[in-house]
Protein backbone atom coordinates (compact mmCIF):
# COMPACT_ATOMS: atom_id res chain seq x y z
CA UNK A 1 0.00 0.00 0.00
CA UNK A 2 1.47 3.33 -1.03
CA UNK A 3 1.96 5.89 1.67
CA UNK A 4 1.72 9.64 1.29
CA UNK A 5 3.77 11.48 3.83
CA UNK A 6 2.47 14.35 5.87
CA UNK A 7 2.52 17.99 4.88
CA UNK A 8 3.50 20.96 7.06
CA UNK A 9 0.90 23.39 8.39
CA UNK A 10 1.57 27.03 9.02
CA UNK A 11 -0.80 29.04 11.22
CA UNK A 12 -0.10 32.77 11.01
CA UNK A 13 -2.01 35.11 13.28
CA UNK A 14 -5.24 33.16 12.91
CA UNK A 15 -8.04 34.71 15.00
CA UNK A 16 -11.79 34.24 15.19
CA UNK A 17 -14.45 36.55 16.57
CA UNK A 18 -18.19 35.97 16.52
CA UNK A 19 -20.75 38.76 16.58
CA UNK A 20 -23.36 38.52 19.36
CA UNK A 21 -27.00 39.64 19.30
CA UNK A 22 -26.20 42.78 21.24
CA UNK A 23 -23.76 43.86 18.53
CA UNK A 24 -20.65 43.08 20.52
CA UNK A 25 -18.19 40.46 19.40
CA UNK A 26 -16.89 37.43 21.24
CA UNK A 27 -13.24 36.60 20.86
CA UNK A 28 -13.23 32.83 20.34
CA UNK A 29 -9.58 32.71 19.38
CA UNK A 30 -6.87 35.34 19.84
CA UNK A 31 -4.33 35.60 17.02
CA UNK A 32 -2.55 32.26 17.06
CA UNK A 33 0.72 31.44 15.37
CA UNK A 34 1.99 27.90 15.08
CA UNK A 35 4.27 25.95 12.75
CA UNK A 36 3.57 22.24 12.42
CA UNK A 37 6.19 20.11 10.70
CA UNK A 38 5.27 17.41 8.19
CA UNK A 39 4.57 14.13 9.92
CA UNK A 40 4.37 15.80 13.30
CA UNK A 41 1.79 14.77 15.93
CA UNK A 42 0.51 17.96 17.57
CA UNK A 43 -2.09 17.94 20.33
CA UNK A 44 -4.15 21.00 21.24
CA UNK A 45 -5.19 20.77 24.86
CA UNK A 46 -7.26 23.07 27.03
CA UNK A 47 -10.61 23.56 28.74
CA UNK A 48 -13.83 24.11 26.79
CA UNK A 49 -13.97 27.55 25.29
CA UNK A 50 -10.22 27.80 24.73
CA UNK A 51 -10.68 27.89 20.97
CA UNK A 52 -9.05 24.54 20.21
CA UNK A 53 -12.01 23.30 18.17
CA UNK A 54 -12.33 26.74 16.56
CA UNK A 55 -8.73 26.47 15.39
CA UNK A 56 -9.24 22.90 14.19
CA UNK A 57 -12.35 23.90 12.19
CA UNK A 58 -10.39 26.69 10.53
CA UNK A 59 -7.57 24.29 9.63
CA UNK A 60 -10.08 21.78 8.26
CA UNK A 61 -11.59 24.55 6.14
CA UNK A 62 -15.07 24.47 7.72
CA UNK A 63 -14.85 28.07 8.87
CA UNK A 64 -12.88 31.13 7.83
CA UNK A 65 -10.59 33.01 10.20
CA UNK A 66 -11.61 36.58 11.04
CA UNK A 67 -8.00 37.56 10.51
CA UNK A 68 -4.74 35.83 9.71
CA UNK A 69 -4.25 32.85 7.45
CA UNK A 70 -3.44 29.17 7.62
CA UNK A 71 -1.38 27.35 5.02
CA UNK A 72 -0.67 23.76 4.08
CA UNK A 73 2.65 23.37 2.27
CA UNK A 74 2.52 27.09 1.59
CA UNK A 75 -0.96 26.97 0.08
CA UNK A 76 -3.72 28.96 1.77
CA UNK A 77 -6.54 26.84 3.26
CA UNK A 78 -9.74 27.98 1.55
CA UNK A 79 -12.13 25.12 2.21
CA UNK A 80 -12.40 21.43 3.14
CA UNK A 81 -10.23 19.11 1.09
CA UNK A 82 -9.91 15.36 0.72
CA UNK A 83 -6.17 15.71 1.40
CA UNK A 84 -7.06 16.80 4.95
CA UNK A 85 -9.03 14.04 6.67
CA UNK A 86 -10.97 14.38 9.87
CA UNK A 87 -12.13 12.16 12.72
CA UNK A 88 -15.04 13.54 14.73
CA UNK A 89 -16.00 12.99 18.34
CA UNK A 90 -19.47 11.79 17.31
CA UNK A 91 -17.92 9.42 14.69
CA UNK A 92 -20.00 10.93 11.85
CA UNK A 93 -20.40 7.57 10.12
CA UNK A 94 -23.00 7.41 7.36
CA UNK A 95 -25.75 5.16 8.76
CA UNK A 96 -27.16 4.34 5.31
CA UNK A 97 -23.91 2.61 4.41
CA UNK A 98 -22.44 -0.52 5.95
CA UNK A 99 -18.98 -0.54 7.52
CA UNK A 100 -17.00 -1.08 4.32
CA UNK A 101 -19.29 1.33 2.47
CA UNK A 102 -18.25 4.02 4.90
CA UNK A 103 -14.56 3.32 4.41
CA UNK A 104 -15.03 3.31 0.62
CA UNK A 105 -16.88 6.65 0.56
CA UNK A 106 -13.83 8.87 0.09
CA UNK A 107 -12.31 6.47 -2.42
CA UNK A 108 -15.48 6.72 -4.53
CA UNK A 109 -15.08 10.50 -4.61
CA UNK A 110 -11.49 10.03 -5.69
CA UNK A 111 -12.69 7.84 -8.56
CA UNK A 112 -10.86 4.71 -7.44
CA UNK A 113 -12.01 1.62 -9.34
CA UNK A 114 -14.50 -0.60 -7.51
CA UNK A 115 -12.17 -3.52 -7.07
CA UNK A 116 -9.26 -1.41 -5.87
CA UNK A 117 -11.64 0.41 -3.53
CA UNK A 118 -12.63 -2.78 -1.79
CA UNK A 119 -9.05 -3.89 -1.51
CA UNK A 120 -7.95 -0.61 0.08
CA UNK A 121 -10.97 -0.47 2.40
CA UNK A 122 -10.35 -4.03 3.60
CA UNK A 123 -6.70 -3.21 4.17
CA UNK A 124 -7.55 -0.31 6.48
CA UNK A 125 -10.33 -2.23 8.21
CA UNK A 126 -7.79 -4.94 8.85
CA UNK A 127 -5.47 -2.33 10.27
CA UNK A 128 -8.04 -1.26 12.86
CA UNK A 129 -8.95 -4.90 13.53
CA UNK A 130 -12.42 -4.80 11.97
CA UNK A 131 -11.93 -6.78 8.78
CA UNK A 132 -14.53 -9.32 9.89
CA UNK A 133 -17.05 -6.54 10.43
CA UNK A 134 -16.86 -5.18 6.88
CA UNK A 135 -20.46 -6.03 6.02
CA UNK A 136 -22.04 -5.11 9.35
CA UNK A 137 -24.38 -2.16 9.67
CA UNK A 138 -22.96 0.83 11.49
CA UNK A 139 -25.54 0.78 14.29
CA UNK A 140 -24.59 -2.78 15.16
CA UNK A 141 -21.20 -1.53 16.39
CA UNK A 142 -20.11 -0.22 19.79
CA UNK A 143 -18.78 3.33 20.17
CA UNK A 144 -15.16 2.21 20.12
CA UNK A 145 -15.71 0.13 16.99
CA UNK A 146 -17.46 3.03 15.28
CA UNK A 147 -14.50 5.28 15.97
CA UNK A 148 -12.15 2.65 14.56
CA UNK A 149 -14.24 2.59 11.38
CA UNK A 150 -14.04 6.39 11.28
CA UNK A 151 -10.25 6.22 11.67
CA UNK A 152 -10.02 3.63 8.88
CA UNK A 153 -12.23 5.88 6.74
CA UNK A 154 -9.98 8.89 7.37
CA UNK A 155 -6.78 6.94 6.58
CA UNK A 156 -8.22 5.17 3.52
CA UNK A 157 -8.11 8.23 1.26
CA UNK A 158 -4.43 8.63 2.24
CA UNK A 159 -4.62 12.29 3.20
CA UNK A 160 -1.39 14.07 4.18
CA UNK A 161 -3.04 15.52 7.28
CA UNK A 162 -5.57 14.10 9.71
CA UNK A 163 -7.47 16.27 12.16
CA UNK A 164 -8.99 14.62 15.20
CA UNK A 165 -11.58 16.50 17.26
CA UNK A 166 -11.75 14.85 20.69
CA UNK A 167 -12.05 11.49 18.94
CA UNK A 168 -11.93 9.40 22.11
CA UNK A 169 -13.90 11.79 24.30
CA UNK A 170 -17.07 9.73 24.29
CA UNK A 171 -15.39 6.38 24.92
CA UNK A 172 -14.81 4.48 28.14
CA UNK A 173 -11.34 4.61 29.68
CA UNK A 174 -10.16 1.17 28.56
CA UNK A 175 -11.33 1.55 24.97
CA UNK A 176 -9.74 4.95 24.94
CA UNK A 177 -6.39 3.62 26.06
CA UNK A 178 -6.52 0.88 23.44
CA UNK A 179 -7.37 3.27 20.61
CA UNK A 180 -4.66 5.72 21.61
CA UNK A 181 -2.19 2.89 21.27
CA UNK A 182 -3.59 1.85 17.89
CA UNK A 183 -3.53 5.42 16.62
CA UNK A 184 0.13 5.81 17.55
CA UNK A 185 0.94 2.59 15.74
CA UNK A 186 -0.83 3.78 12.58
CA UNK A 187 0.78 7.18 12.79
CA UNK A 188 4.25 5.66 13.18
CA UNK A 189 3.61 3.52 10.11
CA UNK A 190 2.13 6.22 7.87
CA UNK A 191 3.69 9.44 9.20
CA UNK A 192 0.71 11.65 8.49
CA UNK A 193 0.66 15.07 10.07
CA UNK A 194 -1.85 14.78 12.90
CA UNK A 195 -3.54 17.63 14.76
CA UNK A 196 -5.43 16.20 17.69
CA UNK A 197 -7.77 18.10 20.03
CA UNK A 198 -8.48 16.94 23.57
CA UNK A 199 -9.24 18.33 27.01
CA UNK A 200 -7.29 15.52 28.68
CA UNK A 201 -3.75 16.52 29.66
CA UNK A 202 -2.47 12.92 30.11
CA UNK A 203 -3.88 11.99 26.70
CA UNK A 204 -2.06 14.96 25.16
CA UNK A 205 1.27 13.97 26.72
CA UNK A 206 0.81 10.31 25.85
CA UNK A 207 0.32 11.06 22.14
CA UNK A 208 2.03 14.29 21.18
CA UNK A 209 5.36 15.32 19.76
CA UNK A 210 4.35 18.78 20.90
CA UNK A 211 1.53 19.87 23.17
CA UNK A 212 -0.14 23.20 22.47
CA UNK A 213 -1.64 24.38 25.75
CA UNK A 214 -4.59 26.72 25.33
CA UNK A 215 -6.55 28.78 27.84
CA UNK A 216 -10.09 30.12 27.75
CA UNK A 217 -11.81 33.53 27.83
CA UNK A 218 -10.49 34.58 25.45
CA UNK A 219 -9.25 31.46 23.70
CA UNK A 220 -5.51 31.69 23.13
CA UNK A 221 -2.35 29.64 22.87
CA UNK A 222 -0.61 29.81 26.26
CA UNK A 223 2.49 27.76 25.66
CA UNK A 224 3.86 25.05 23.38
CA UNK A 225 5.74 22.16 24.99
CA UNK A 226 7.90 19.52 23.35
CA UNK A 227 7.45 15.98 24.66
CA UNK A 228 10.79 14.18 24.31
CA UNK A 229 9.74 10.77 25.58
CA UNK A 230 10.01 7.52 23.67
CA UNK A 231 6.89 5.60 22.68
CA UNK A 232 5.22 3.74 24.28
CA UNK A 233 5.19 6.31 27.06
CA UNK A 234 4.86 5.28 30.65
CA UNK A 235 2.19 7.46 32.23
CA UNK A 236 3.48 6.66 35.71
CA UNK A 237 7.10 7.69 35.00
CA UNK A 238 8.58 10.77 36.65
CA UNK A 239 9.32 12.40 33.32
CA UNK A 240 5.66 12.04 32.30
CA UNK A 241 4.52 13.43 35.64
CA UNK A 242 6.87 16.40 35.31
CA UNK A 243 5.41 17.43 31.99
CA UNK A 244 1.93 16.96 33.35
CA UNK A 245 2.75 19.23 36.31
CA UNK A 246 4.22 21.80 33.98
CA UNK A 247 1.09 21.90 31.83
CA UNK A 248 -1.25 22.19 34.80
CA UNK A 249 0.90 25.02 36.11
CA UNK A 250 0.43 26.82 32.82
CA UNK A 251 -3.31 26.56 32.98
CA UNK A 252 -5.04 28.99 35.32
CA UNK A 253 -4.87 27.94 38.93
CA UNK A 254 -8.60 27.80 39.34
CA UNK A 255 -8.98 25.93 36.11
CA UNK A 256 -6.17 23.52 36.90
CA UNK A 257 -7.93 22.66 40.12
CA UNK A 258 -11.24 21.86 38.45
CA UNK A 259 -9.52 19.97 35.65
CA UNK A 260 -7.27 17.84 37.83
CA UNK A 261 -10.18 16.72 39.99
CA UNK A 262 -12.06 15.82 36.84
CA UNK A 263 -9.07 14.14 35.28
CA UNK A 264 -7.55 12.26 38.19
CA UNK A 265 -10.49 9.87 37.91
CA UNK A 266 -9.97 9.38 34.18
CA UNK A 267 -6.19 9.65 34.12
CA UNK A 268 -5.56 5.95 34.59
CA UNK A 269 -7.58 5.02 31.56
CA UNK A 270 -7.03 8.05 29.43
CA UNK A 271 -3.37 7.46 28.82
Amino acid sequence: MSTSYGKPISVRGVAKTYPTHSGESIEALRPATLEIASGEFVVLVGPSGCGKSTLLNILAGFSKPSSGDAFVSGERISGPDIDRGMVFQSYALFPWRDVIGNVEFGLEQKGTAKRKRREIALHYLHMVGLRDFANKEVDELSGGMKQRVAIARAFATEPSIIFMDEPFGALDALTRRFLQHELLRMWQEHRKTIVFVTHSVPEAIYLADRVVVMTARPGAIKVILKVDLLHPRDVTSDAFRDIEREIYAELDEKLAKSMSSELSAAAVGSA
Binding site: F62, G85, M86, A92, F94, G106, Q109, A154, T157
Partner: protein, 251 residues
Protein backbone atom coordinates in the same frame (compact mmCIF):
# COMPACT_ATOMS: atom_id res chain seq x y z
CA UNK B 1 -45.71 -13.39 15.51
CA UNK B 2 -44.30 -9.90 15.27
CA UNK B 3 -45.58 -9.28 11.75
CA UNK B 4 -48.84 -11.06 12.52
CA UNK B 5 -49.60 -8.75 15.46
CA UNK B 6 -50.80 -5.64 13.62
CA UNK B 7 -52.56 -7.72 10.97
CA UNK B 8 -54.49 -9.58 13.64
CA UNK B 9 -55.45 -6.29 15.24
CA UNK B 10 -56.93 -5.09 11.97
CA UNK B 11 -58.83 -8.34 11.46
CA UNK B 12 -60.15 -8.03 15.00
CA UNK B 13 -61.26 -4.42 14.45
CA UNK B 14 -62.95 -5.49 11.21
CA UNK B 15 -64.88 -8.20 13.09
CA UNK B 16 -65.98 -5.72 15.77
CA UNK B 17 -67.31 -3.36 13.07
CA UNK B 18 -69.23 -6.22 11.47
CA UNK B 19 -70.77 -7.23 14.81
CA UNK B 20 -71.83 -3.68 15.69
CA UNK B 21 -73.21 -3.21 12.19
CA UNK B 22 -75.23 -6.44 12.34
CA UNK B 23 -76.49 -5.54 15.83
CA UNK B 24 -77.74 -2.19 14.56
CA UNK B 25 -79.58 -4.03 11.75
CA UNK B 26 -81.21 -6.43 14.21
CA UNK B 27 -82.15 -3.82 16.82
CA UNK B 28 -83.30 -0.92 14.63
CA UNK B 29 -84.25 -2.82 11.46
CA UNK B 30 -83.51 0.09 9.08
CA UNK B 31 -84.74 0.01 5.51
CA UNK B 32 -82.11 -1.76 3.32
CA UNK B 33 -81.85 1.31 1.08
CA UNK B 34 -80.64 3.29 4.13
CA UNK B 35 -78.40 0.70 5.75
CA UNK B 36 -78.14 -2.74 4.15
CA UNK B 37 -76.90 -5.65 6.29
CA UNK B 38 -73.23 -6.75 5.98
CA UNK B 39 -74.21 -9.84 4.04
CA UNK B 40 -75.99 -7.78 1.38
CA UNK B 41 -72.92 -5.58 1.03
CA UNK B 42 -70.75 -8.67 0.73
CA UNK B 43 -73.05 -9.91 -2.02
CA UNK B 44 -72.85 -6.57 -3.81
CA UNK B 45 -69.08 -6.65 -3.42
CA UNK B 46 -68.93 -10.10 -5.00
CA UNK B 47 -71.21 -9.01 -7.85
CA UNK B 48 -69.11 -5.93 -8.61
CA UNK B 49 -65.93 -7.96 -8.33
CA UNK B 50 -67.09 -10.70 -10.70
CA UNK B 51 -68.38 -8.19 -13.26
CA UNK B 52 -64.93 -6.53 -13.18
CA UNK B 53 -66.48 -3.15 -12.48
CA UNK B 54 -64.93 -2.87 -9.02
CA UNK B 55 -61.42 -3.61 -10.26
CA UNK B 56 -61.73 -1.03 -13.01
CA UNK B 57 -62.91 1.71 -10.62
CA UNK B 58 -60.27 0.82 -8.06
CA UNK B 59 -57.55 0.74 -10.70
CA UNK B 60 -58.63 4.10 -12.12
CA UNK B 61 -58.61 5.77 -8.69
CA UNK B 62 -55.25 4.24 -7.75
CA UNK B 63 -53.69 5.29 -11.06
CA UNK B 64 -54.88 8.87 -10.59
CA UNK B 65 -53.49 9.11 -7.08
CA UNK B 66 -50.29 7.36 -8.07
CA UNK B 67 -49.52 9.58 -11.05
CA UNK B 68 -50.40 12.78 -9.19
CA UNK B 69 -48.34 11.63 -6.22
CA UNK B 70 -45.32 10.95 -8.42
CA UNK B 71 -45.62 14.32 -10.17
CA UNK B 72 -45.99 16.16 -6.85
CA UNK B 73 -43.07 14.23 -5.34
CA UNK B 74 -40.82 15.08 -8.29
CA UNK B 75 -41.42 18.77 -7.57
CA UNK B 76 -41.71 18.69 -3.77
CA UNK B 77 -38.56 16.68 -3.03
CA UNK B 78 -36.04 18.79 -4.99
CA UNK B 79 -37.78 21.96 -3.77
CA UNK B 80 -37.75 20.67 -0.19
CA UNK B 81 -34.06 19.80 -0.38
CA UNK B 82 -33.29 23.29 -1.70
CA UNK B 83 -35.38 24.92 1.03
CA UNK B 84 -33.87 22.78 3.78
CA UNK B 85 -30.34 23.32 2.51
CA UNK B 86 -30.34 27.04 1.80
CA UNK B 87 -31.68 29.37 4.46
CA UNK B 88 -31.84 32.19 1.98
CA UNK B 89 -33.92 30.20 -0.51
CA UNK B 90 -36.19 29.05 2.31
CA UNK B 91 -36.87 32.64 3.38
CA UNK B 92 -37.78 33.42 -0.22
CA UNK B 93 -39.98 30.38 -0.85
CA UNK B 94 -41.62 29.98 2.54
CA UNK B 95 -44.22 32.79 2.24
CA UNK B 96 -45.52 31.24 -0.98
CA UNK B 97 -45.74 27.81 0.57
CA UNK B 98 -47.44 29.11 3.71
CA UNK B 99 -50.03 31.05 1.72
CA UNK B 100 -51.08 28.09 -0.41
CA UNK B 101 -50.82 25.41 2.26
CA UNK B 102 -53.97 26.31 4.28
CA UNK B 103 -56.13 26.13 1.14
CA UNK B 104 -57.75 22.71 1.22
CA UNK B 105 -57.12 20.76 -1.98
CA UNK B 106 -60.89 20.30 -2.10
CA UNK B 107 -61.24 24.05 -2.56
CA UNK B 108 -59.33 23.66 -5.82
CA UNK B 109 -61.92 21.27 -7.27
CA UNK B 110 -64.15 24.05 -8.75
CA UNK B 111 -61.13 25.73 -10.37
CA UNK B 112 -59.92 22.36 -11.62
CA UNK B 113 -63.31 21.76 -13.27
CA UNK B 114 -63.25 25.24 -14.82
CA UNK B 115 -59.77 24.74 -16.20
CA UNK B 116 -59.76 21.07 -17.11
CA UNK B 117 -63.42 20.01 -17.24
CA UNK B 118 -64.06 16.61 -15.77
CA UNK B 119 -61.13 14.99 -17.59
CA UNK B 120 -58.14 13.31 -16.00
CA UNK B 121 -55.86 16.40 -15.73
CA UNK B 122 -58.34 18.11 -13.40
CA UNK B 123 -58.36 15.27 -10.89
CA UNK B 124 -54.62 14.78 -11.12
CA UNK B 125 -54.18 18.51 -10.53
CA UNK B 126 -56.25 18.41 -7.34
CA UNK B 127 -54.47 15.34 -5.99
CA UNK B 128 -51.11 16.91 -6.86
CA UNK B 129 -51.96 19.80 -4.57
CA UNK B 130 -53.08 17.40 -1.85
CA UNK B 131 -49.89 15.34 -2.00
CA UNK B 132 -47.46 18.20 -2.58
CA UNK B 133 -47.41 19.85 0.85
CA UNK B 134 -46.91 16.88 3.17
CA UNK B 135 -43.98 15.69 1.03
CA UNK B 136 -42.48 19.18 0.89
CA UNK B 137 -42.79 19.92 4.62
CA UNK B 138 -41.36 16.56 5.61
CA UNK B 139 -38.44 16.88 3.18
CA UNK B 140 -37.55 20.37 4.43
CA UNK B 141 -37.64 19.17 8.04
CA UNK B 142 -35.60 16.07 7.16
CA UNK B 143 -32.85 18.08 5.47
CA UNK B 144 -32.71 20.62 8.30
CA UNK B 145 -32.40 17.85 10.88
CA UNK B 146 -29.26 16.39 9.29
CA UNK B 147 -26.35 16.43 11.73
CA UNK B 148 -23.94 19.08 10.33
CA UNK B 149 -21.08 16.77 11.25
CA UNK B 150 -22.22 14.36 8.49
CA UNK B 151 -21.99 17.20 5.98
CA UNK B 152 -18.49 18.02 7.23
CA UNK B 153 -17.54 14.35 6.93
CA UNK B 154 -18.78 14.38 3.33
CA UNK B 155 -16.69 17.47 2.62
CA UNK B 156 -13.41 16.10 3.96
CA UNK B 157 -14.11 12.84 2.11
CA UNK B 158 -14.10 14.54 -1.24
CA UNK B 159 -17.57 16.00 -1.91
CA UNK B 160 -16.26 19.25 -3.35
CA UNK B 161 -19.39 20.55 -5.07
CA UNK B 162 -22.75 21.24 -3.47
CA UNK B 163 -24.27 18.89 -6.03
CA UNK B 164 -22.17 15.92 -4.96
CA UNK B 165 -22.74 16.74 -1.30
CA UNK B 166 -26.51 16.83 -1.86
CA UNK B 167 -26.44 13.59 -3.79
CA UNK B 168 -24.06 11.58 -1.62
CA UNK B 169 -24.86 12.88 1.88
CA UNK B 170 -27.94 15.10 2.13
CA UNK B 171 -30.29 12.98 0.03
CA UNK B 172 -29.58 9.65 1.76
CA UNK B 173 -29.53 11.31 5.19
CA UNK B 174 -32.96 12.86 4.62
CA UNK B 175 -34.44 9.88 2.78
CA UNK B 176 -36.28 8.42 5.80
CA UNK B 177 -38.03 11.76 6.37
CA UNK B 178 -38.96 11.88 2.68
CA UNK B 179 -40.50 8.42 2.87
CA UNK B 180 -42.59 9.55 5.85
CA UNK B 181 -43.73 12.57 3.84
CA UNK B 182 -44.56 10.40 0.83
CA UNK B 183 -46.53 8.02 3.04
CA UNK B 184 -48.59 10.79 4.61
CA UNK B 185 -49.15 12.46 1.26
CA UNK B 186 -50.36 9.25 -0.35
CA UNK B 187 -52.97 9.10 2.43
CA UNK B 188 -54.14 12.66 1.86
CA UNK B 189 -54.10 12.08 -1.89
CA UNK B 190 -56.20 8.94 -1.49
CA UNK B 191 -58.76 10.84 0.61
CA UNK B 192 -58.77 13.67 -1.90
CA UNK B 193 -59.28 11.64 -5.09
CA UNK B 194 -62.53 10.23 -3.72
CA UNK B 195 -63.82 13.78 -3.10
CA UNK B 196 -62.76 14.86 -6.59
CA UNK B 197 -64.46 11.85 -8.13
CA UNK B 198 -67.65 12.44 -6.15
CA UNK B 199 -67.97 15.84 -7.82
CA UNK B 200 -66.72 15.29 -11.32
CA UNK B 201 -65.97 11.85 -12.76
CA UNK B 202 -67.30 9.00 -14.83
CA UNK B 203 -65.08 6.39 -13.23
CA UNK B 204 -63.21 5.65 -10.01
CA UNK B 205 -64.30 4.62 -6.53
CA UNK B 206 -65.67 8.11 -5.82
CA UNK B 207 -67.83 7.85 -8.89
CA UNK B 208 -68.99 4.37 -7.80
CA UNK B 209 -70.13 5.86 -4.49
CA UNK B 210 -71.76 8.93 -6.02
CA UNK B 211 -73.51 6.80 -8.59
CA UNK B 212 -74.68 4.33 -5.94
CA UNK B 213 -76.26 7.18 -4.05
CA UNK B 214 -78.08 8.47 -7.12
CA UNK B 215 -79.61 5.11 -7.92
CA UNK B 216 -80.34 4.52 -4.22
CA UNK B 217 -77.98 1.55 -3.92
CA UNK B 218 -76.61 1.94 -0.41
CA UNK B 219 -74.91 -1.45 -0.74
CA UNK B 220 -72.80 -0.17 -3.67
CA UNK B 221 -71.93 2.96 -1.69
CA UNK B 222 -70.76 0.83 1.22
CA UNK B 223 -68.74 -1.48 -1.04
CA UNK B 224 -66.91 1.62 -2.29
CA UNK B 225 -66.26 2.80 1.24
CA UNK B 226 -64.98 -0.57 2.41
CA UNK B 227 -62.55 -0.83 -0.52
CA UNK B 228 -61.27 2.70 0.15
CA UNK B 229 -60.60 1.81 3.78
CA UNK B 230 -58.88 -1.49 3.08
CA UNK B 231 -56.67 -0.08 0.32
CA UNK B 232 -55.71 2.86 2.53
CA UNK B 233 -54.53 0.48 5.24
CA UNK B 234 -52.64 -1.71 2.75
CA UNK B 235 -50.75 1.15 1.09
CA UNK B 236 -49.85 2.58 4.48
CA UNK B 237 -48.51 -0.83 5.55
CA UNK B 238 -46.25 -0.96 2.48
CA UNK B 239 -44.81 2.46 3.35
CA UNK B 240 -44.32 1.52 6.97
CA UNK B 241 -42.42 -1.54 5.83
CA UNK B 242 -40.23 0.63 3.59
CA UNK B 243 -39.76 3.12 6.42
CA UNK B 244 -38.51 0.41 8.76
CA UNK B 245 -35.87 -0.59 6.24
CA UNK B 246 -34.65 3.01 6.24
CA UNK B 247 -34.49 3.16 10.01
CA UNK B 248 -31.40 5.40 10.14
CA UNK B 249 -33.53 8.52 10.20
CA UNK B 250 -35.07 7.52 13.51
CA UNK B 251 -31.89 7.15 15.51
Amino acid sequence: MKSLGPTLQFVLAFCVILIVWQTVIVVFAPHPSLLPPPLAVARAFWGLLVSGELLVHTGVSLMRVFSAWIIAGCIAIPLGIAMGWSGRFERFANPFVEMFRPISPMAWIPMAILWFGINEPGKIFVVCIATFFPTLISTVAGVKRIDPVLVHAGQVLGCRSTASLLRKVVFPAALPAMVVGLRISFGTGWACIIAAELVAARSGLGYLIANGMEILRADTVLVGMVVIGILGVCVDAVFRFLGRRLAWGVT
